[in-house]
């Protein structure tokens, strides 16, 4: 592959292994087959929609163990639950300020336009971390606490200095892209849905190539189907380069520099 590839969204899932270290090793084997240089990893070996503080800590411990084994190949994002503000702020300090983690992962515990996210986003921004928020628009009905891109747009409007990533671009990307379009501090992470042709072309057209990030949601999703969204897109190579690695490097650079990590 002629492009450098950083995957902004992966999990310790879809691969065998009794420990986080074993799992990340197997995941990296697949990443190697398709030429991916770096993975951002989040959430532990077991998942919970609405984790307790203890569950959060355990998840983050597992990711930090895995990343510790492969520091040149993986970064960790800290999994938080905005319903537990203090525990989340503590995890930010533990894992990001004092630990190796470089981003925030928010999932489906609470709609992200809720006011309880504000202190977390503020603190994450102080620490120079990107806040990645799972978003979906399901005609079948979202989970009770599952955010939409519209929710994220509201949050981003309240925090213009923060950097957000709209994970999955809302699934229904034709609407998701439009919802985040007016907010230049929101990036579209195009991972996770089917590789429906046109997603990346529309994202580039409407947001600009600088605001689109490649991610896979591996090992639940394949690397292939998600890479195809970029490699198969009718966009210039310069755009592919940005999406596949340069944008992610750019938004992680402030925190990596703060941690003394050279790219």
């Amino acid at each position: 592959m002629k492009f450098e590839i950083w995957d902004v969204h992966t999990h310790l899932a879809g691969v065998p292994g009794a420990t986080p270290e074993e799992r990340l090793e197997r995941l990296l084997e697949y990443a190697d087959r398709v030429g991916i240089a770096r993975l951002c990893v989040m959430m532990g070996m077991k998942w919970n929609y609405d984790p307790t503080p203890e569950f959060m800590r355990q998840s983050n411990d597992e990711v930090m163990r895995a990343v510790k084994r492969f520091p040149d190949r993986a970064f960790g994002f800290v999994y938080l639950n905005p319903k537990h503000t203090q525990a989340s702020l503590d995890e930010l300090n533990r894992c990001v300020r004092d630990g190796p983690m470089v981003g925030v992962k928010l999932w489906v515990a609470l709609h992200c336009n809720d006011a309880r996210l504000d202190p977390i986003v503020e603190r994450a921004t102080e620490l120079k971390t990107v806040v990645t928020q799972h978003c979906w628009l399901k005609i079948t009905g979202n989970l009770p606490g599952e955010s939409t891109p519209m929710d994220l747009a509201e949050l981003a409007a309240r925090h213009p200095k923060a950097t957000f990533s709209c994970i999955h671009t809302g699934g229904d990307w034709e609407r998701g892209i439009r919802a985040i379009r007016p907010y230049p501090n929101i990036y579209a992470d195009i991972n996770g849905g089917d590789p429906t042709a046109g997603i990346t072309e529309m994202a580039v057209r409407e947001l600009g190539a600088e605001r689109v990030l490649y991610g896979s949601d591996a090992g639940g999703r394949s690397f292939s189907s998600q890479l195809a969204k970029v490699l198969g897109a009718n966009i210039p190579d310069s755009a592919k380069r940005l999406i596949l690695a340069e944008n992610t490097k750019r938004i992680l650079q402030p925190i990596l520099r703060a941690k003394g990590i050279k790219l």
Partner: protein, 283 residues
């Protein structure tokens, strides 16, 4: 025989009114200059291919029937979420075919995020003179505040607004694509609260006479039925509110053109319906 009850009532009243002015002279009136078709569609209807659904073929057909200008919407606008693409493609098709015959009317869906930008693009980027709305396919009723806002913004930008009441007979819709036509009851109030609005209703089988009589709203004749339907309508509504529309290529174009022959119309009425009313709306 299968007319809907409300249309039957309309026809009964209209028949009596028109009977009083039915012209005995069956000779054709001198054709007025120009023919503006305010209701054509480009691209593909989602449920089947239509004769003349390729733009070049449609242009040939329209020209052969004396059309000098055609206001074109796109079938893509009905279901596409990426409606910006639909509008861009429509503008491009109109530019590429017909040497100016086709005038694009893009669509705006006020239930999509950031829809105001679609309106802006229609006006500023594509330089469209108007927009065409499809409330039943876009999932809103006419009392929706977003609809009112859309009309206000369109009027502010000087855009003509067309609204397609229905796209096909309710009785034969595909089971997975059953779309109720909107109730027109809230429309009078919305129109009253939108000064400067120019609104044309498309595909209205039973024209709302009250609205037409206020002069704020026009209709075209594509779905108008009943023998002598056009003359009956002109007996009840202001002449300046009735426009020519064919709904080609969904309908045979001849349906609309033959209606002007079927109804006894004087020269002034013919000219008004054929082109003068449309020209005035666009001015």
């Amino acid at each position: 025989m299968n007319p809907e009850p409300s249309r039957r009532d309309f026809l009964k009243t209209a028949a009596v009114a028109a009977g009083a002015v039915l012209l005995r002279n069956a000779a054709a009136a001198k054709p007025a200059e120009g023919l503006i078709d305010t209701n054509v569609y480009l691209s593909h209807w989602p449920l089947r291919r239509l004769p003349c659904d390729e733009t070049a073929k449609l242009v040939t057909k329209l020209r052969a029937n004396g059309v000098t200008q055609a206001w074109a919407g796109s079938f893509d606008a009905l279901l596409y979420r990426d409606i910006a693409t639909a509008n861009a493609r429509l503008a491009e098709e109109c530019r590429r075919h017909g040497g100016g015959l086709l005038v694009p009317f893009g669509s705006v869906n006020p239930k999509l995020p950031d829809w105001e930008d679609d309106l802006r693009r229609c006006a500023e980027q594509h330089r469209m003179p108007g927009i065409r709305l499809h409330p039943n396919y876009h999932g809103y009723k006419l009392e929706d505040p977003d609809f009112a806002k859309l009309l206000r913004l369109a009027a502010k930008r000087g855009l003509l607004v067309q609204m397609a009441f229905i796209m096909e007979d309710r009785r034969m819709m595909h089971p997975l694509l059953q779309v109720e036509p909107p109730s027109l009851k809230p429309l009078a109030d919305v129109v009253k609260k939108t000064p400067g609005l120019r609104l044309e209703l498309l595909n209205c089988k039973v024209p709302p006479l009250d609205l037409l009589k206020t002069g704020d709203v026009c209709v075209e004749i594509a779905m108008l039925e009943g023998v002598g339907g056009v003359s009956k309508l002109l007996a009840q509504a202001p002449t300046e509110c009735v426009l020519f529309g064919s709904y080609a290529p969904m309908f045979y174009f001849e349906s609309a053109s033959l209606k002007l022959k079927e109804s006894p119309l004087n020269e002034e009425q013919l000219r008004a319906v054929r082109c003068a009313n449309a020209q005035r709306l666009l001015a």
